[in-house]
Symmetry: C2
Subunit: 301 residues, 2 copies
């Protein structure tokens, strides 16, 4: 099937065409890029990043959120970022299986994407994957990170709205440990809100958020329970409100995406294996200079 | 002063020429790149990244380490990554002031560099700064991150040896919260080792590290006290041993540096203000497609 044909099927909402196009894009197949060049640019579909430490209940919250949206007749896509790290695959598998209750819903599309490298960053092709999903007629995209390593901060460069999920017990750590994550939250969620300390932790988060409030957006701090669904409607509303509210932020995100795609396209001109070999040869010479080497490369590129 | 002249003075160890060259490189002044192209590529000077959460005592440890090396007659440079974040400037200022005891030592060079963006990443020019310092005749470079946000994982792409500093109380958190940081450690330090639980936390870290041991390197877990200097000699030795031990790792790091410089050089061809304006105009058109836009840009670049 050629790019034109795949793009056509994808735009009709064909899940198999979508899955195939995603694989092509992930593998840097030229047809993947061709398809993307045929599609519409859409920023009307909210992309929601859900992040937070392992054990915060992100998966059950994603589950509950997806269920609400599916019940409302919407088409929902969930991207689960899978770690390559040996430290944390155990809990993840269990999390994913809980999604099973919705797994067969015809309006739900689930895809897991490997994280990049040992530090758990997002795949460099996640933007492409989101754009393909949008064009296949999905109304909401939820990206769930594993909550470790780089993916938790990188998500802010991909998602329209970043939701940081924590549990009441995190109250003691939040001021010393997670400033990087504190700063990317558009919405805070205190999940497992039936536990002790939920209210006081929410108050602390509200205090910490005040200095990041703007005229356009006050960061809400919501109490939820993934198991019962309490507070999940409010979370869904906050996400949609945030997405609609921030044209300046969307413009900034578009610029960041353009820079990202520009960088990635540039790097494809230098196949890594050949580059490694050339660098190794050059670096062995006594007059090697990395800056001259890169300047020469760039002129060739 | 032109590039040739500045490079010459810098190579004689002139601190003012070094400071000037660093400013030029940080500001993307063409003379900065010219200087770098005139210098030798050196991978014989260990670059040590010190990371870990705020409150772990990184600054006093850096102090103690620098003092040992200065006493041994070595020339030492310390780069302090300063946050732009509003969340944590308070503690930092205090930390830096403690360095004051060594501040006037003639063989010590201290430079603070702003972190990049609100997520606290490392400055994209930190590689250039390290290369300038190496050519000014320094024997050791220590980069101290603020321990929040992206800088804590990014440091592994810059430093030859990454030292992760924690305190005994971190034992409860380490398995759930900090996997990203767990995975970048070449050396673990349990600082403030006179506190309760230091030994058992060190044992836990040793267990967690086993799966990351290789034939070339077993990750040491060291107990230190920044205030008394206990264990600091062993830390210094572990750093030098690690630096000398890993030619494969250094080769990988060189490749990563080349990619980084290649990306940054490419992006300089697209001045951000003009690019933003052009993107905004194009994005307003009904047939806008980001992938076609980027492909056209790349052809022009």
């Amino acid at each position: 099937m050629d790019a034109q044909e795949l793009a056509g099927k994808l735009q009709q909402g064909d899940q198999r065409a979508l899955a195939r196009a995603i694989s092509l894009a992930e593998n840097d197949h030229p047809t993947g890029l061709e398809i993307l060049q045929l599609l519409r640019y859409r920023d009307d579909v909210p992309v929601v990043g859900i992040t937070g430490p392992p054990g915060a209940g992100k998966s059950s919250l994603v589950n509950a959120l997806a269920e609400r949206w599916l019940d409302a007749g919407l088409r929902v896509a969930v991207i689960a970022v899978d770690p390559t790290s040996p430290f944390n695959f155990g809990s993840l598998l269990g999390d994913r299986l809980r999604m099973a209750g919705l797994y067969l819903h015809p309006n739900l599309f689930i895809r897991s994407m490997a994280s990049r490298g040992s530090l758990g960053g997002l795949s460099p092709r996640i933007l492409e994957v989101c754009d393909l999903i949008k064009n296949a007629g999905y109304d909401r995209i939820v990206i769930e990170t594993v909550g470790v390593g780089q993916s938790e901060v990188e998500i802010a460069g991909v998602a329209d709205t970043t939701v940081v999920v924590m549990v009441p017990e995190a109250g003691d750590e939040v001021q010393t440990m997670k400033s990087g994550v504190m700063e990317i939250a558009d919405v805070f969620v205190v999940n497992k809100a039936d536990r002790d300390g939920a209210e006081s932790f929410a108050r602390l988060l509200r205090q910490l958020s005040i200095q990041r409030h703007t005229a356009a957006w006050e960061i809400p701090v919501l109490l939820t329970r993934g198991d019962t669904g309490d507070g999940v409607d409010a979370l869904g509303e906050a996400i949609i409100r945030h997405h609609g509210n921030l044209p300046a932020r969307r413009k900034e995100l578009l610029f960041e995406k353009a820079l990202h795609l520009l960088r990635e396209q540039w790097l494809r001109r230098f196949p890594h294996t050949a580059l490694r070999a050339e660098l190794e040869t050059e670096a062995a010479k006594p007059d090697f200079n990395l800056y001259r080497f890169v300047a020469n490369l760039a002129q060739r590129g």
